[in-house]
Amino acid sequence: MTDHVYVPADFQHETDRLLMEKVNESSTLESLRQFLADNHIEAIYKYYYQSSYINVTKEMAPKITDMLERAARMFGLENPPRLYLTRDYLSGASVNGSSEPFILLSTDLLSRIDDDQMLWGVLASQTAAIAAGHHFMNYLLWIKDRVEELIPLNIIPKVQEILKPLTSAGLNKWAQWRTCSLDCAFYLATQNFPLAVEQIFLQRMSNTHKALFHLGKSEDKYLKQKEEFMNGSVLSNVSQTVNMFLRDDAWLPVRYRELEKFVNSKGGSRE
């Protein structure tokens, strides 16, 4: 296996990178950090995960922790990230946290993964997300949603004001495009285009149905649908744009297209 160390610039989608820059340049970010520190929000967050989620250790899952160690080396992290498990089938895999980032993996997703390459790719791409700083952005998203919803304005009158630039910087839009970066990191880790396409559909199709579509291969039966989506009428384009604002998950055909572009740029091929 390769000893090459990838940096975020190697796999991060341009839109993801630009939006993250915008958020990080926000003049109010420092005051938000101070607010979070003053209220020990990260300590509470850490306490909650440590006390309510099972942390994967080497003793209980040596294959998984070995992969995390390898992924940390591949994407330039000093230490492998912590991995917590959850039953929540909607969670899939995600990263979160501030100074101590971690991966949250649904055991439902784990049970859908039926080969080691796919498991490696999923863990490696989440580790890459931490290397790119996605965990902190997800943490900010959580803070934004929860603080706006829960904290009474008469106690912290400035919270919404502090968070306003983050909202206008487009965090929701970022949540869509960051998945494209993960797809590219998956490809870098596995060097396997069909598998990288398959993982886009990991939570959307059963393994049996995925096999019928020959995803990512020359006889890919999803390609026609993808082309129809990308070349839709003006009306359907408007509908797609509106939905992009309402939903925080990227469209599957968009992810597929962006992955193809990335693989082509790296001189890769379908097979």
Partner: protein, 249 residues
């Protein structure tokens, strides 16, 4: 059942809660608010009743759990179609129902189901339903917002310790601590079907208490929100705590 089922921390937290003047006032308001609670009607219209005719095996387990907990009366049991592993008592006093998810019945062993049912029955046995209901409804209680916020911290302390008590009761209902641990572990996502994980090697470490400095109203409010969203709140910590209980093997 032994007399030491109620965890000392729960009794301590309950005393502290009851001494809080805000709590006394809101408890009265809450009792009125809950009178005639629609939990039974709501369940009758949306969930599936478990009786000796509709689901003999499950009903028999429910009766066994109640008998082992020395409860002469329990409440109606309903099944809800849901992927989570959990159960909860809805309602208040004689208006309550126990709702169990379908995934629990499909995934848990009989002993683990006894544990899950016993855990919930303990809230009825120890007359904790009102407090449980108040904890869940703190955000929507007809109280001034600042009063509700001030109650979050003592309620969280009680709720956390009440889980310890309920887990001990669950062990009595199931006949072993191992069944409770299996149930909690499954609720957190790990069961015998989870690939790649050696269940016998899972460790449950003690989690340091939150420092007092972290007990700001904002911090506790966010923690309550996180706990509300979790199917098995404090699960790791609870397994650690239960493993130290000497009342049952």
């Amino acid at each position: 059942m032994r007399g030491d089922i109620r965890h000392p921390k729960e009794l301590e937290a309950m005393t502290s809660l009851q001494k809080n003047p805000l709590f006394s006032a809101s408890a009265k308001a809450f009792s009125k608010w809950l009178e005639g609670a629609p939990a039974v009607a709501h369940s009758l219209s949306r969930k599936f009743p478990v009786t000796d005719r509709t689901h003999p095996r499950l009903f028999s387990l429910y009766r066994t759990a109640a008998e082992r907990m020395e409860m002469s009366q329990s409440c109606p049991l309903f099944l809800d179609f849901n992927y989570d592993i959990k159960a909860e008592v809805l309602g208040y006093n004689k208006q309550c129902v126990l709702v169990l998810t379908s995934a629990s019945v499909e995934i848990l062993s009989d002993d683990e189901l006894l544990a899950l049912l016993g855990h919930e029955l303990s809230y009825i046995k120890f007359d904790n339903l009102k407090y449980l209901g108040m904890f869940r409804a703190l955000d929507t209680l007809p109280l001034p917002r600042t009063a509700a916020d001030a109650l979050v911290a003592p309620f969280l302390d009680w709720m956390h310790a009440a889980e310890y008590t309920a887990d001990r009761a669950a062990a009595w209902a199931a006949g072993s601590k191992a069944a409770v641990i299996g149930m909690l572990r499954a609720a957190m996502g790990l069961d015998s079907a989870t690939p790649e994980i050696r269940l016998d090697q899972v460790s449950y470490e003690s989690v340091p208490e939150l420092p007092d400095t972290a007990a700001t109203i904002i911090g506790r409010t966010l923690l309550k929100h996180l706990i509300d969203q979790t199917d098995c709140p404090w699960g790791v910590d609870r397994i650690h705590e239960l493993s130290m209980y000497e009342g049952i093997d």
